[in-house]
């Protein structure tokens, strides 16, 4: 009896030793394997808005580009819902208008890549579009449908901030849906234009929704564009495009935060962040340290789960 348990003990030890060895060998990049954790956390919309307005705290805002497009079709209701469940703070979605004036979510000018149909959104009617299915990331048909802006905002209401991309030129129509769904306080609009132009084109909305200027740091006048905005609008945040991480303007970020505007940088592609991008972070999440070290308040990502996991470990996200 005793011998039996002794044998099994030894066997267990040998097996577990072998297994430990194996999992070390399994990781290719000489480090542990980074498996994303599936988490479900929620935070009130009031806290999200308060955090967006607060440029001085350490809580980082995570923005998911086109929703959780890895696990559901991009710009689908499911992709938004996944973000809410994950604890993403803001979802970026793309708005386009159909031939008959319906506002829908669609990234491309045509529906060819992401749906079972073909053609330009502006040439197609809602009657036709609602018969189609969305495709997944390798082009296969899914059970998911093209959502309307209204459906998307109803889903987001009270749960997650929303950045409506491509909505600027059609914002009069979009704003009606925003009002109708009572989601004004959650909506963020971005534009890569100077203050004077925004005031002229978008003036009536500047006190109704959040406007976030996009400033390219390799633009020769980037600093004066920023100062114009700081003096005249005090936007909730600036989105900066940072083609190289040696650009001097990065040193100005803390000043901007002290003056009351948050700083947003995309982790999406190398040209947004001087090469500290999601693709690199997938191999080494510590790539995101660049954002943390530079006190970036808002990060738009294609790897929301990875980024949330990393920030939570550092106590920089709820």
């Amino acid at each position: 009896m005793k011998l039996h348990s002794f044998v099994s003990c030894i066997v267990l030890v040998v097996i577990s030793g072998a297994c430990r060895q194996e999992s070390v060998n399994g990781a290719k990049y000489g480090e542990e394997v980074f498996l994303e954790e599936k988490t479900e956390k929620s935070i009130s919309i009031d806290d999200l808005i308060a955090n967006l307005k607060d440029s001085r705290n350490d809580e980082v805002i995570v923005v998911a580009h086109r929703g959780d497009w890895r696990n559901a079709p991009e710009n689908s209701l499911q992709a938004i819902e996944n973000c809410i469940k994950m604890g993403v703070d803001m979802v970026e979605i793309d708005v386009r208008e159909t031939k008959d004036g319906k506002l829908i979510l669609m990234h491309d000018e045509t529906i060819d890549r992401t749906t079972t149909g073909t053609g330009k959104v502006t040439d197609l009617t809602w009657e036709y579009l609602q018969t189609l299915y969305l495709r997944d990331g390798i082009g296969h048909k899914t059970p998911h449908r093209i959502p309307t802006l209204k459906e998307a905002l109803e889903l987001c209401k009270g749960k997650i901030l929303v950045n409506l991309d491509k909505s600027y030129p059609i914002f009069d129509k979009c704003f009606k849906v925003v009002e109708e769904t009572d989601t004004k306080q959650q909506v963020v609009i971005k534009g890569a234009i100077p203050y004077e132009q925004v005031k002229e084109e978008f003036g009536t909305y500047l006190d109704k929704v959040f406007f976030m200027p996009i400033v390219r740091l390799n633009h020769p006048n980037s600093k004066s564009i920023v100062n114009d905005y700081l003096n005249q609008l005090q936007p909730v945040a600036f989105e900066f495009t940072v083609p190289q991480d040696t650009i001097k303007m990065i040193e100005y970020f803390d000043d901007i935060r002290i003056q009351g505007s948050s700083v947003s940088v995309n982790s999406l592609w190398p040209r947004h962040n001087g090469g500290h991008d999601d693709e690199k972070a997938a191999l080494h999440p510590s790539v995101y340290d660049w954002f943390i070290e530079n006190h970036i308040d808002i990060i738009q990502t294609d790897r929301p789960q990875l980024l949330l996991d990393y920030l939570r470990k550092k106590n920089l996200h709820n």
């Binding site: 011998l3 044998v7 030894i10 066997v11 040998v14 097996i15 030793g17 072998a18 297994c19 060895q21 194996e22 999992s23 060998n25 399994g26 990781a27 290719k28 394997v33 498996l35 580009h65 086109r66 497009w69 890895r70 696990n71 991009e74 990234h107 491309d108 890549r113 997944d136 990331g137 390798i138 082009g139 296969h140 048909k141 899914t142 059970p143 999406l268 592609w269 190398p270 040209r271 693709e279 997938a282 294609d302």
Partner: protein, 317 residues
């Protein structure tokens, strides 16, 4: 006398014990050095308490489809077989590419067969939301076999018609012949005509698709000639002739791979059904109906489900 008996027993037991330790150490050695070999063992001798996870085009949600990163991710997740598509370039290299053209998945344009390897390598893969500008290149089959060697099995799609010989040469060169599973829809007679004895040197998995003529004859001919260790079986409904073949294959101890990618391949019991209605209804149903392995677009979720069901204990890391 009693004492002597007891001593003999103890000695015998110690002997057995040492034997067990040596066996375990040996298999631990295998486990450490060649997980792929263990997976092959399981393909040869399928059991009810371990279900193989096969990832379609690598974990394409995580990294571009058919990229080294998408394949590495499968290794890291603990997937058993990674399915990839291979095509021949103009200058005779096998590269991983699903479509005839590189248009959908890279920032370049053109047919694989009209581009050289150098040209294809100059382009970069897109991610699954169609964004260009990754740093990731189209991999060659050789690169794939090198990173997967001893770690995971590879299922080669799109080779049957033309490139079995070219793929065979690469497997030989990289010492991975026992790690790659070829597959195809042709009858055994057609395959013999095309490739003759070469078929006996590779692992070949015939596919039963819904327009396979006379499925039972198709299977019988394969069993008699090649006795393949596995079949890929698709069925658009439970009334399908292919579906009926599954129980017979299982009775003969042959491994059955089902393809949970879209409705017409598994009578609707897809990955997507798992996500929307829960895994019991789809993956659970497939296993209950004879699947030894499931090809999936959701490798992480499938492994999690199989683990919870106790269907991954045999190779647990």
């Amino acid at each position: 006398m009693e004492i002597l008996k007891r001593n003999v027993k103890v000695v015998l037991f110690l002997g057995k014990f040492l034997y067990v330790v040596v066996l375990v150490a040996q298999s631990a050695e295998v486990l450490q050095t060649n997980r792929a070999a263990l997976i092959l063992e399981h393909l040869k001798n399928p059991s009810n308490d371990y279900v193989l996870a096969v990832s379609h085009r690598g974990d394409w949600r995580y990294a571009p489809e058919n990229s080294l990163q998408a394949i590495q991710r499968c290794i890291d997740l603990g997937v058993d077989i990674v399915e990839i598509d291979v095509r021949l370039t103009k200058d005779g290299h096998l590269v991983a590419m699903h479509d005839y053209t590189i248009d959908r998945t890279t920032n370049g344009k053109g047919k694989v067969s009209e581009l050289t390897l150098e040209e294809i390598k100059s382009f970069r893969l897109k991610n699954a939301c169609g964004v260009k500008g990754s740093r990731i290149q189209v991999p060659t089959l050789e690169e794939i076999m090198k990173i997967t060697k001893d770690k995971i099995m590879v299922n080669l799609d799109k080779v049957e018609g033309e490139t079995v010989r070219e793929a065979y040469e690469i497997l030989k060169r990289t010492g991975t012949m026992k790690q790659a599973i070829f597959k195809g829809r042709e009858t055994v007679q057609t395959m013999r005509q095309k490739y003759g004895g070469l078929l006996d040197s590779i692992i070949y998995m015939p596919i039963l698709i819904d327009n396979t003529k006379n499925p039972s004859q198709f299977v019988k001919d394969y069993n008699n000639d090649l006795s393949p260790l596995a079949y890929e079986v698709t069925f658009d409904s439970e009334r399908s002739e292919n579906f009926k073949q599954i129980s017979e294959m299982r009775a003969n101890g042959i491994f059955v791979l089902t393809i949970a990618l879209w409705d017409a391949l598994v009578a609707g019991r897809t990955d997507e059904m798992s996500m929307l209605q829960g895994p019991e209804k789809s993956w659970g149903w497939l296993i209950a109906n004879g699947a030894n392995g499931i090809m999936t677009d959701r490798p992480g979720e499938l492994l999690q489900y199989l683990g919870q069901k106790g269907l991954r204990d045999w190779l647990r890391e």
